[in-house]
Homo-oligomer: 214 residues x 2
């Protein structure tokens, strides 16, 4: 809160593009690239260059005219803005196929997004160990969330159980929910929800393939 008040008004679409810039910049940093100008960055991100410059301008005038941006500094500043430079502890509810895939998703851990608790309401799954995590009953969320310092809940249950999972997470004191289930959920105003809906991208594809000729 105290670190990032000036970023308050960054629009949602910019935040999403920042995630893409981070991905590209991290790959460049790994490859030893030290300085980048907006054109190659924009090409790699599939965003036009003026948009890139506009997005990065939220962070002040730290590009160097005629040179570009310092990759590692840019990484640092964007991560600070997104509060992605610290660990975030998450609880996953619903240990089905998608849940298991996320429990073992290396990119989460690599970016400080750590799933520290796995929960399910199926008695056959409770007690099972998955990638080193014991599966707990969802009823224990209310104790485990504060105990494990969990701030974010991940919902990977079938659609018809999504609202119940959301309510249990909210009651346990979660601050934000990442919802992978194909159902909308209702939560109180102080809880943030983000939907992962694969059809956003699928319909963009089917729309583009059908409508646009290249």
């Amino acid at each position: 809160m105290n670190q990032t008040p000036k970023y308050e008004h960054i629009p949602r679409a910019t935040i999403q593009r920042l995630a893409t810039y981070l991905q590209v910049l991290e790959a460049m940093d790994k490859d030893g690239v030290q300085v980048i100008s907006s054109e190659p960055l924009s090409r790699a991100c599939d965003v036009n260059a003026s948009q890139v410059r506009k997005d990065l301008a939220y962070f002040g005038e730290f590009g160097v005219r005629g040179v570009g941006y310092y990759v590692s500094y840019l990484l640092e500043v964007i991560k600070a803005c997104l509060n992605a430079n610290r660990e975030w502890r998450a609880a996953l509810v619903g240990v089905g196929n998608m849940g298991r895939a996320l429990l073992n998703y290396q990119e989460f851990r690599r970016h400080g997004f750590t799933i520290v608790g796995a929960f399910d309401c199926d008695p056959f799954k409770i007690g099972e160990k998955i990638y080193g995590l014991e599966v707990f009953c969802t009823k224990t969320l209310v104790e485990k969330v504060p105990e494990l310092g969990i701030e974010i809940g991940i919902i990977t249950v079938p659609p018809e159980r999504a609202q119940r999972a959301a309510t249990q997470l909210v009651d346990a004191g979660i601050k934000g929910i990442l919802n992978y289930s194909a159902a909308r959920i209702s939560v109180p105003d102080h809880v943030f929800v983000e939907y992962v809906n694969f059809f956003h991208q699928i319909y963009s594809l089917t729309f583009n393939i059908s409508t646009k000729q290249r």
Copy 2:
């Protein structure tokens, strides 16, 4: 191509919201709702009502003043626009955890998005049967894609193998790629790519939790 020329200029952000509207409208339709006005639709979708009206205006003036939209008709029109009213056949490359989760993802099949081929380059996985699908060597994509009428490729390989998978899919004649790997890929101009990057939503959450007080 012949069905939807007038939709050519619908912006990308609208297309993504249409996916959300479809999800909500399908749930309403299932619950027996016949007519809906823009306010409850906007609340359920977490999009403001004037945006909903603006988005739906691309489809002509089919709302009924003082009444709202007919749910089943709206569903039909949006699906036609997105070309989501027919089957799309997909090949999945990379039978790891995420690949397996998607092979068994019921929402895909329920929406006519059918994965008809699973591919991997690991000799231990080739020949294995996963949810009824035999895993083929990625080298066979070039024969299987036309043989199985596949138009879309799904990439679920580790980041360092994403470009190779993309090139193999392109060489096999794919029209669009849904990329779940945490790597950018290069493809020729006639191929459409959509990235599924979970950090878009995660960073929105961490940003909102840290920056906004509710």
